[in-house]
């Protein structure tokens, strides 16, 4: 299809983008364009203007002070996937980024655009929820920081308001004895997650000392699997115990909330979710040693 007519503005800085946003109330920010452009083409959205923030270099790049990894919102999936820093200290994030779409999508799509769009089948929201990421948002009232549980509000809705710009995402770096992983059941056509499971495990001498597990794909917004985490902490990280803990995942899923489609029904997704949870935990545990 063809997009309806819109104006196009290119912002040179975050301040200029903010100013353009305030001038054009019915506008949308354009970053990598991989979620927005298809929506325009099928005419599900018809903003009067697009404000292109894609060339604001200050929003790009990954840096770490050892404790916190700061990721500019324009950082592409390809950059996440190949980042040495992330590979070591936030493995699940680079692993998940490498599973998004195909090389063309990964070269254009950005982390900020991805999470601000908040497609339930997207990979990064679950990973960021699992890793305890914080989201730095610049708005008319100044800058604020929001945790993952407050950032993802529901189906394709986030804490980013119409006048806001997501500038940066901060992820705690994993330390010794910690590891993270992402396991994905990919839709054969879209490559979006039918089920996405992210796990971060801390261990000491084969015993789980800390666990964070989050699910995406089959829920409107990423959820932490609290029951699985509780079952893991304090126990051994054996095949049996991980499988047993993973099976608790279904109890934490609200039947009315579980998503289904022509390819995979809600019932099926709920029944097999534990397998991907188990795979993510097993891989993360392996990396924690």
């Amino acid at each position: 299809m063809y997009a309806p007519e819109f104006d196009y503005h290119r912002a040179g800085s975050v301040a200029e983008a903010a100013e353009l946003l305030s001038k054009h109330p019915d506008s949308k920010l354009l970053a990598g364009g991989h979620s927005l452009i298809p929506i325009l083409k099928v005419r599900l959205a018809s903003p009067s203007a697009l404000i292109d923030i894609g060339r604001i270099d200050s929003l790009r790049g990954i840096s770490s002070d050892g404790g916190t990894i700061r990721i500019g919102s324009l950082t592409t999936h390809a950059e996440l996937a190949s980042s040495e820093v992330l590979n070591v200290a936030a493995t699940a994030l680079s692993e998940a980024a490498g599973m998004i779409g195909d090389p063309a999508v990964r070269n254009r799509g950005t982390i900020g655009g991805n999470v601000a769009h908040a497609d339930p089948a997207s990979d990064l929201p679950a990973v960021l929820a699992c890793l305890g990421a914080e989201f730095v948002i610049s708005g008319p009232e100044g800058e604020r920081t929001v945790g993952a549980s407050d950032f993802f509000e529901g189906l394709m809705t986030t804490a980013v308001g119409e006048q806001d710009i997501l500038t940066r995402i901060e992820v705690p770096a994993s330390g010794p004895g910690e590891g993270s992983a992402y396991a994905k059941f990919a839709h054969p056509a879209s490559r979006y997650a039918v089920i996405g499971a992210a796990a971060r495990i801390a261990s000491s001498g084969g015993t789980c000392t800390g666990a964070s597990v989050a699910l995406g794909g089959l829920v409107p917004a990423p959820v932490r699997a609290g029951a699985v985490e509780q079952a893991l902490v304090g126990g051994p990280l054996t095949e049996e115990s991980i499988a047993a803990a993973s099976s608790a995942v279904a109890d934490g899923l609200d039947d009315d909330e579980v998503l289904g489609d022509v390819y995979a029904s809600a019932g099926y997704r709920k029944a097999v979710a534990h397998i991907w949870v188990r795979r993510a935990i097993t891989a993360a545990a392996g990396r924690s040693g």
């Binding site: 054969p188 056509a189 879209s190 489609d261 390819y263 029904s265 097999v272």
Partner: protein, 785 residues
């Protein structure tokens, strides 16, 4: 013969322009002053149109014209169906190019907007106000055939387009009555969506001063487009030129001539300027023809030692809301006549009901009828093996038609040309290490892993076909092909062909045919196709017929050139024609090859004509129209190896081994490419692809986000082997290879998955074999036990 001639795997000359983006497709052709058309398509699968208000759209920015049924009905005849299946009670529903008072599928055209830009045309579509009164829709072919089903067409009872029957051999009821064993199955051949890389497009330029119209069109058969367009749009055929520029894939979906094509021609005629229409991908999913959509109730009778004694089937074939150009022949002639497969089956009976449903019309899709036939036969043979506790390879061997090299009659009325089915299977089992694989499977089962092996031994019918047969089976055209071969003074060659390749590689292989026949370098031969003004009449590229029929026409034209060249050479060498010999481009007096005349020498002399033999015309050019005496019947044996994860239902394809026999291979690399592509498309049906409608007739898999096409990372390396059995009646011995892979592979993969699931008690799963479907079948089976 030089290294780069017939039989050599030289590189495809098409590829440099295709992979560097310098090829020009219909949408790349830009004419000054072109207006753009957009089609308003029905959002309802079935509705009455109570009124259309186009006033707002007409006044929108850039809009030049808006047309509805009333504006077009006198100048565009209904879209024709051109395969008038005899003895089947065929009823053809009137297919108005712009819907009259009823829409019958989501995508049926209701109005057309012509505007200065594409965007303006699409913007104006939103301004057309149509008053629809929704009606009940019916989607599944068997449901549509039921007594109380919603009726699509007033004049057609029970939504039945036709009831076609094939009966052959002995009495079918007796065969089943006397059988030791009978195996049965119901198979859903799900609807597939072809997905050519280039969507469809048309650009029409009408010149009022001359009354001439040129149509650039995404088609597999420009001469058929010209013929039908002249009938539908009333442009005389001599003033109508159809050009198929670069065409980005078809797989059958660009055989039909569509309402939007006729409408684009109408708009240009009406407005006197060029008009372009390019479908969007969403439109492509909705309104370009789909494939398959059968429900097959099948059974096989056999003796206790595994000899097949009968095959009986009832098929409900969904045709969509209207009959597309060639649609009635696909689930009948190209399907039912192939039910003997590679086996001697003494009695066969099939009823095929073609049923109208509120869905996109169905047409040929790679394989077109033969994959659906092969699947039935190969599935039944596996069921028989399973019932008797025999290896599937052994049951096949017990029923194969023995090796033959000049004709074998099967009870459906066809005469296969040549084949050695056991030879292909034997080679396959050897290459695959079948015994070892069975041992691995047994060992894996011990450990709770589910590995499966699936065979598919197939024969297919292609090289369509003798024109006399075309007439007898109701095909409203001929099925011969043509070639003009023209030598220029410098010895370079132009070949003009009536067929219309669109990715298959015939620009390369046809140059190799000329090289093989006349000893020129293939680089010196340019193959021209796809323009009705510069090529001789031909019926097009589909049904794996371009090389099998058009290649024969070219070979015969080359042989005419050789005969003429020999006469000229004899004259120049002052020898008698009977004393002349020919070898690799050299014409010489017996015993004196060093003082001969080359084909290039003769081309020069024929063109300047300074010294020609008495009574021989100037020029070195020949035309041939080849009408084959019979179809050709490629065959082969394929094996798929899968592993099923019983916990998730996921199917992993681990190996795929193919042995195909298409006769002598003009270019083995191109053959391998066709085999690869064909196999992958068939695997797509088994594993991923399905056009799904909801009960209201909304297409739920209408984008590439939902409709799963095969991707390289889900496929193993495909192991391709071949045997060579020439066709006895073809001048080059060649058969077709474009569809063979697709015809074989769906059944191979399906059989492999069922084989893997056998210890879990699963007997059938509907395609595509998604993880959920496989998982559910395991759950249900475990629940039963």
């Amino acid at each position: 013969m030089s290294a780069s001639t017939f039989g050599s795997g030289i590189r495809r000359r098409e590829d440099p322009r295709l992979i560097t983006g310098s090829a020009a497709y219909t949408d790349d052709i830009v004419l000054p002053g072109t207006l753009h058309a957009a089609m308003l398509r029905s959002p309802y699968a079935h509705a009455r149109i109570n009124g259309i208000d186009t006033s707002a759209a007409s006044e929108a920015s850039g809009v030049v014209a808006v047309y509805t049924h009333a504006d077009t009905v006198d100048e565009i005849a209904p879209a024709p169906c051109a395969w008038l299946l005899p003895n089947s009670g065929l009823t053809i529903a009137e297919y108005h190019c712009v819907a009259k008072d009823t829409v019958r599928y989501v995508g049926d055209i209701v109005a057309v907007v012509v505007a200065e830009s594409c965007s303006q045309a699409y913007d104006a579509l939103d301004l057309i106000d149509v008053d629809y009164e929704p009606l009940d829709a019916v989607i599944a072919p068997k449901a549509a055939a039921a007594e109380d089903a919603p009726q699509l067409h007033d004049e057609i009872k029970g939504n039945q387009a036709f009831h076609w029957t094939v009966t052959g051999g002995g009495d079918i009821d007796e065969a089943f009555g006397a059988a030791d064993v009978v195996v049965k199955e119901t198979i859903v051949q799900q609807r597939l969506i072809p997905n050519a890389m280039e969507p469809r497009a048309a650009l029409a330029r009408y010149v009022q001063a001359t009354g001439e119209l040129t149509l650039w069109n995404t088609t597999q058969n420009p001469h058929i487009v010209r013929f039908l367009c002249s009938l539908v749009n009333g442009v005389p055929e001599d003033k109508l030129r159809v050009i198929a520029p670069e065409v980005g894939g078809g797989f059958g979906s660009k055989i039909a001539v569509y309402p939007a094509d006729f409408i684009t021609v109408f708009c240009s005629k009406k407005l006197g300027v060029p008009v372009k229409w390019v479908e969007t991908r969403s439109e492509n999913y909705q309104a370009t023809t789909h494939g398959r959509d059968h429900v097959q109730e099948i059974e096989m009778a056999a003796t206790s030692d595994g000899r097949i004694t009968g095959l009986r089937a009832t098929v409900h074939a969904g045709m969509g809301a209207y009959l597309s150009t060639a649609a009635p022949g696909i689930p009948t002639i190209l399907h039912g006549l192939m039910l003997s497969g590679v086996y001697d089956i003494p009695a066969i009976h099939e009823d095929v009901y073609g049923i109208y449903t509120n869905t996109t019309p169905v047409e040929a899709y790679r394989g077109a009828g033969r994959p659906e036939a092969t699947f039935m036969v190969e599935r039944l043979v596996d069921l028989l093996a399973s019932r008797l506790g025999l290896d599937p390879a052994e049951v096949r061997r017990r029923n194969f038609i023995p090796k033959f090299d000049d004709g074998h009659d099967v009870v459906t009325g066809l005469t296969y040309d040549s084949g050695d089915y056991d030879g292909a299977l034997t080679k396959l089992l050897g290459k695959a290490g079948y015994e070892g694989l069975r041992a691995e499977q047994a060992a894996a089962r011990e450990k709770g892993r589910h590995i499966g092996l699936g065979l598919s031994t197939y024969v297919e019918i292609c090289g369509l076909g003798p024109s006399q047969v075309a007439g007898a089976i109701g095909f409203q055209g001929g099925l011969w092909e043509s070639a003009i071969l023209r030598f220029h003074p410098s010895g370079k060659v132009n070949v003009m062909i009536g067929a219309s390749p669109h990715g298959q590689g015939e620009e390369t292989t046809f140059a190799q045919i000329v090289a093989g026949e006349l000893g020129v370098s293939p680089e010196d031969v340019k193959v021209i196709h796809g323009d009705t003004e510069s090529t001789p009449m031909g019926w097009g590229t589909y049904g794996s017929r371009t090389t099998a029929v058009g290649g024969a026409a070219l070979a015969l034209a080359a042989r005419k050139i050789r005969d003429k060249a020999k006469i000229i050479a004899a004259h120049l060498l002052e020898a008698a024609v009977e004393d002349m010999e020919y070898e690799d481009g050299n014409f010489f007096v017996k015993g004196s090859p060093d003082t001969g005349k080359t084909i290039q020498d003769i081309a020069l002399m024929a063109n300047v004509a300074w010294n020609m033999p008495e009574g021989v015309e100037a020029g070195l050019e020949a035309t041939s129209f080849y009408d084959p005496p019979n179809f050709v019947f490629p065959y082969g044996a394929h094996l798929a190896v899968v592993e099923v994860d019983s916990e998730t239902g996921n199917v992993e394809l681990k190996r795929y081994i193919a042995v195909d026999d298409c006769g002598p291979q003009i270019n083995p690399v191109i053959v391998e490419g066709q085999v690869h592509g064909g196999i992958v498309q068939g695997i797509g049906q088994a594993m991923w692809e399905e056009g799904v409608y909801d009960e209201d007739g909304q297409l739920l898999t209408g984008t590439m986000l939902d409709y799963a096409l095969p991707r390289a990372d889900r496929l193993p390396d495909i192991e391709v082997h071949s045997t060579v059995t020439p066709s006895p009646h073809h001048p080059l011995g060649v058969k077709g290879i474009g569809e063979a892979g697709t015809i074989a592979s769906t059944a191979a993969v399906y059989n492999a998955v069922i084989d893997a699931l056998q210890p879990l008690g699963v007997a059938s799963v509907n395609m595509p074999l998604t993880p959920e479907r496989v998982w559910r079948s395991i759950q249900e089976s475990q629940g039963r036990n």
